[in-house]
């Protein structure tokens, strides 16, 4: 299951979608909004997201296909927010089921790492005194 949504992410639904009877481990990564940008020494008020939705879904499918093959994933679900989020709110959930726990940890990490590198989703940080598209400039 892949879902890009401007509604609050229901974490339990993502987990439910990744359950499978042949799995002995279900690993979940939840990305949340951090309150501070360390390098800029600025307090983050909220985040806004934008996605190139059809391509984002295609790129997530490609990442999942590699992971499914490499770690023998039994079931998986990914949901990413496209909403305006406040500090502490959920930006992304990745849930992966495999037969044994080690593969579920590795697959989950692989998927979030690849998502952050390849999937066309952009995050804007809103500070108390301005805003900035994350990672746009050196």
């Amino acid at each position: 299951m892949i879902k890009l949504t401007d509604k609050p992410i229901d974490v339990s639904k993502v987990i439910e979608a990744a359950k499978h009877p042949t799995a002995g481990g279900l690993n979940v990564f939840i990305g949340t909004v951090r309150d501070f940008h360390k390098q800029k020494n600025k307090r983050v008020v909220r985040l806004e997201f934008e996605a190139y939705e059809p391509m984002a879904i295609t790129e997530i499918q490609k990442i999942a296909a590699v992971a499914i093959d490499r770690w023998d994933i039994k079931a998986w679900a990914i949901s990413h927010s496209l909403a305006k989020l406040n500090v502490g709110e959920v930006a992304v959930v990745i849930a992966v089921s495999t037969a044994h726990r080690k593969a579920s940890f590795e697959a989950c990490q692989f998927i979030i790492d690849q998502l952050k590198e390849k999937v066309p989703i952009w995050k804007k940080e809103i500070f108390e005194d301005g805003e900035e598209w994350v990672s746009a400039h050196p």
Binding site: M55, V92, K116, P120, W122, A136
Partner: protein, 79 residues
């Protein structure tokens, strides 16, 4: 040929629009890069800039058609 280019994130601000039309003399992604760079020098200051053709990352050698869906992909930051 005339191309319509989808922009996202910071590229929408640099190019002042979400769907920007551009006249391109050349035919490849590399030609488009040069034309974009000349018209919008601020694009060169980005950490990276990929061009997507028909919803997939494209190589510089890719040939473009007027009917292609072309999009600019500035540094992604999901998650």
């Amino acid at each position: 040929m005339q191309l319509t280019i989808k922009t996202f994130g910071i590229t929408s601000e640099i190019m002042s629009g979400k769907n920007v039309t551009m006249e391109l003399a050349g035919t490849t992604v590399a030609d488009l890069r040069k034309a974009l760079s000349a018209k919008y020098p601020s694009l060169d200051k980005l950490n990276s800039l990929f061009i997507a053709v028909n919803r997939a990352y494209a190589e510089d050698a890719t040939t473009l058609k007027e009917t292609d869906e072309i999009a600019l992909i500035p540094p992604v930051s999901g998650g």
